[in-house]
């Protein structure tokens, strides 16, 4: 849960969280059962995958393509479904 070993006495008064956006240290990537894979040959760099990602985990790389950050990606498949050029496919996650 990201707060192991913390008791209520360790928290601020009123349960104030003093560090904005600190949920970003939490890994949601292990929820995933399918991961997005990309074939950047066909990519037109439109950015639809970026704008439609509920996790805000898709970022532009140096070449202008977009890459999902697998630390956060929950594998919903929206990017693959919405991609106008079928650049993105979903493959099953395997145990490593």
């Amino acid at each position: 849960m990201g707060g192991e070993g913390l008791g209520w006495k360790d928290l601020e008064i009123g349960f104030v969280v003093t560090e904005p956006g600190n949920a970003s240290s939490y890994k949601t990537g292990d929820w995933r059962s399918e991961r997005p894979i990309r074939d950047n040959e066909r990519c037109i760099k439109c950015g639809l995958c970026y704008i439609y990602c509920p996790e805000a985990c898709i970022h532009e790389d140096e070449e202008g393509h977009f890459e999902a950050d697998l630390y956060y990606c929950k594998g919903c498949g929206i990017c693959a479904h919405e991609c106008p050029r079928n650049v993105i496919g979903m493959v099953e996650e395997k145990e490593e």
Binding site: A23, S24, G47, Y50, A56
Partner: protein, 309 residues
């Protein structure tokens, strides 16, 4: 020289994310997506008051938070009351010279349960008193956070755990969805709008307009919920688009009483396309679907008449 791809619209949206990843929303959550857009549009100079509900649960699991701005959680019933209190206190302190006026925006977030059922009275009061705020209702059409119980925003014919489908006659929800935007319009407030995360630029423009407005503003956002609607996680955007194209959730704004359709559709798509993608409607027979189709068309005609006037 500008590269060709720079002209694509999604690339012109700010890359600043004010809603941090690592939130615990369900996979494919349309509400989390809507919150992301709203936070992008609002920026950091806001105070957000959030009702109990999915948003509060998935964004703020102690000791962590996804919010990058001032945010406070309150109860189902008093979001609008807390928000109007903060707004009034801010105004008074500015007037007395205790703090500098930084043009802070006050925003309330609530689900459909917190807006159309439990918090309606407080919201109505805040609108009537004319506080300067923006209220955003994330409408996922049931109490999803506690386990898909019906709300007054649940559409006719939808299955929920408290409106179950029977073997003989019960078809789930037997009442029609409460028309909350119209209730907001009836308060004569300066800005009311409906939005859908499948149309992100329209959504962000409406949020900006609502926040800039002097006085109360109300925006209802259609938040697709794959968990509660019993549909695959990857069709979130497609479902939102279908809801608009079939007329189930028309996008419009009402600025100072004047109606304006954001997406005008001369021909609506058959409602079956929208219903059949969701498990919560799979029990409906042809008669039920025809009933819903008639009602949706009637409502759309009424809306278009208001636009003409």
């Amino acid at each position: 020289m500008a590269k060709e791809e720079d002209l694509f619209v999604p690339r012109q949206v700010t890359t600043e994310e004010n809603f941090a990843p690592g939130h615990r929303a369900c996979i494919g959550c349309g509400e989390a997506l809507a919150v992301r857009y709203v936070c992008k549009a609002l920026g950091k100079n806001v105070i957000i008051v959030s009702a109990t509900g999915c948003i509060e649960i998935f964004s703020s699991l102690l000791p962590q938070t996804s919010w990058q701005m001032a945010w406070i959680h309150t109860l189902f019933e008093n979001v609008a009351a807390v928000m109007s209190g903060i707004e009034s206190a801010y105004k008074v302190r500015v007037r007395k010279g205790k703090i500098a006026d930084k043009n802070v925006k006050f925003v309330g977030f609530g689900g459909d349960g917190a807006t159309t059922d439990i918090g309606l009275q407080a919201l109505s009061g805040a609108m009537e008193r004319g506080h300067d705020f923006l209220y955003v209702c994330y409408d996922n059409e049931a109490y999803m956070n506690t386990g898909i119980q019906r709300s007054s925003s649940t559409p006719y014919g939808a299955w929920t755990t408290t409106a179950p489908v029977g073997k003989k006659s019960s078809i789930g929800q037997v009442t029609w969805k409460k028309n909350m935007p119209e209730i907001a319009v009836a308060h004569n407030i300066p800005y009311v709008a409906t939005a859908c995360p499948s149309y992100p630029l329209d959504l962000m423009a409406k949020v900006k307009r609502g926040a800039e407005m002097d006085g109360p503003a109300y925006i209802q956002i259609f938040s697709i919920c794959p968990t509660g609607w019993r549909c695959p996680t990857d069709i979130t955007i497609e479902l939102g688009r279908l809801a608009v194209e079939t007329g189930v959730f028309p996008l419009y704004e009402v600025i100072n009483g004047e109606y304006n359709l954001s997406v005008d559709l001369p021909d609506l798509k058959p409602i079956r396309e929208y219903l059949k993608k969701q498990g919560r409607f799979k029990h409906l027979n042809d008669d039920n679907i025809a009933t819903i189709q008639t009602r949706v068309e009637e409502d759309y005609v009424k809306l278009r008449e208001k636009v003409k006037r």
